[in-house]
Amino acid sequence: MKVLENGVDEQNLVAAAQQDPSRFADLYESNFDRVYAYVSRRVLHRHDAEDLTAEVFHAALRDLERLEWRGRPFAAWLMGIAAHLLADGWRHAAKRPEISTSDLERGDVGVDAIDFTIIDPKIEERAMLYQLVGELPLDQRQVILRRFVEQKSVREIALELGRSAGAIKQLQFRALQNLRMRIGSCHVERVHRRSTR
């Protein structure tokens, strides 16, 4: 997230990736969590979010050389792609009779009406949370990933890790406390950084 705060760095990354597509990995690392956070708020299932995120980055890599840097965050461009893909997906899904109306309510809005130059703070916070999970101590991170990504029960995790269920619950509790504390401080830090610019 550090890179994303600095427009000049991001511009350099984009220019480098346009020259050498293998440098796209840097942009990917910087923006994956944001794109995933944006997409996951608009689809119901994890596999849909993964598919859509993958499509966004593939399309971005394909069209990167056509991108003209105009000072907009790179993430805004990615979210624009995501929004178009979502709109296409919903339009396609709307033709199927079995689609539920809740799917449509989640985000079937005019893509052109969305201002992607300002990234939703909720998206920012969610992306930040994803990053913070990676910074947790190993045992806490293992529990969080198994519990929320793999959606395993405490008992299953305990068996896998060779710990007691109580220990797993404690690790889960401490991990969430950690995350809550860190995201709070990150939020304060970010607000402070913006105010001092």
Partner: protein, 370 residues
């Protein structure tokens, strides 16, 4: 509330949250509530394996013209990546024609059929254009353009008035027993110094001058044959005729023919007699009312030959062309084409004293290739 109970309560709520994503968790403790809010956000936590797989796949995609088999055989590949790999199975195709293979339009759908239809339409149009061009070039030929105009010869020479007989004319003779022999009259001049003679009596005259007849100086007769009366039917022997007052013929006063005066032909006063006038001096010009253009001769067309033919034509009192002669030849069959055409012409005849008369006019026919 003890720490143990909070931990248990949190886990129960998380269990409920994961089991029923849309249901409200049965929370009670505010501390649990805050942690549960974080847990709710973690439900969408991305799988680190997915992130790594996607990164690896993007790196492969970024590598230009990578081995397509490497994409299809990859066990790490995800569903959209499989589609992507399928797209990339045409080696380097998108690099050659990116739009044709759907690349370059980002998230928007691209139909190959549209490109194929477009290519077919363009090919057809191009083939049509080339065919028409070849056909036009092969059959191209110059358009022959023939124009003709009746030349109104307004001679500055004004014929003297002839109160008794219409038209000019003249005649002469040497009181011989034989009629004047056939030949060409001398050239016209506005003033006569020496009358024409077929048989010259004084071959050693001190003062000599060319014989002439009075008439339009622009009008000339062929001077190739022997001198004589053009209207005479006698070819020989040479005789100045039965007339008087020098000249040739049966008339008088130094002209040629049966008239009286220094001109040629019947009538009197000079000029050309015999009811054939020239335009001017009270004689109006004939006006063509039917004048089909001559054809271009094939010979001249192939040789890209062009130019002007001048015909001297007598337009009769009935408006029909009579005697047609070539005044300026062009050759290549164009003279005959001009004559053939002009013979079909019809005129409003020339008028003199409100009476139609025959006139001699020049008709200029221009043959041009465009």
């Amino acid at each position: 509330m003890s720490n143990a109970s909070i931990v248990d309560q949190l886990d129960e709520n998380i269990e409920a949250l994961l089991a029923h994503a849309d249901s409200e968790p049965p929370i009670s403790d505010p501390a649990v509530c805050e942690l549960l809010a974080v847990a709710a956000e973690l439900r969408t936590l991305p799988d680190p394996d997915f992130k790594a797989r996607l990164k690896a796949d993007l790196i492969e995609q970024a590598a230009p013209c990578a081995d397509p088999a490497a994409h299809t055989d990859s066990r790490m590949i995800t569903r959209p990546f499989a589609e992507s790999a399928k797209k990339m199975s045409a080696p380097c195709a998108s690099a050659i024609l990116p739009t044709l293979f759907g690349a370059g339009y980002g998230a928007y759908p691209v139909h190959r059929s549209s490109f194929i239809a477009s290519a077919l339409a363009h090919t057809t149009a191009l083939a049509l254009l080339v065919t028409v061009g070849i056909w036009a070039a092969r059959d191209a030929h110059e358009v022959p353009k023939v124009s003709s105009v009746v030349l109104t010869d307004l001679s500055p020479y004004v014929l003297p008035p002839a109160p008794d007989e219409a038209g000019g004319g003249g005649g002469g003779g040497d009181r011989e027993k034989l009629r004047a022999s056939k030949g060409n009259p001398p050239r016209f001049a506005s003033e006569q110094i020496t009358p024409p003679a077929i048989v010259v009596r004084n071959e050693h005259a001190r003062l000599t001058a060319d014989p002439t007849v009075v008439g339009p100086p622009s009008l000339s007769f062929p001077q190739t044959g022997p001198m004589g009366d053009p209207l005479s039917g006698i070819l020989g022997p040479p005789s100045n005729g039965t007339g008087s007052g020098s000249g040739m013929g049966s008339g008088s006063e130094g002209g040629v023919g049966t008239g009286r005066g220094p001109g040629v032909g019947p009538g009197s006063g000079g000029g050309i007699g015999g009811e054939i006038y020239r335009v001017g001096g009270g004689v109006s010009a004939p006006h063509a009312i039917y004048d089909p253009e001559p054809e271009y001769s094939e010979e001249a067309r192939k040789a890209r030959y062009q130019g002007v033919v001048v015909l001297q034509v007598v337009i009769g009192a009935d408006g029909r062309p009579g005697d047609v002669r070539v005044a300026r030849t062009l050759g290549m069959g164009l003279d005959q084409k001009a004559i053939d055409a002009v013979r079909q012409w019809r005129f409003e005849p020339a008028l003199k004293d409100r009476r139609p008369v025959a006139v001699v006019v020049n008709i200029e026919v221009t043959f041009r290739l465009y």
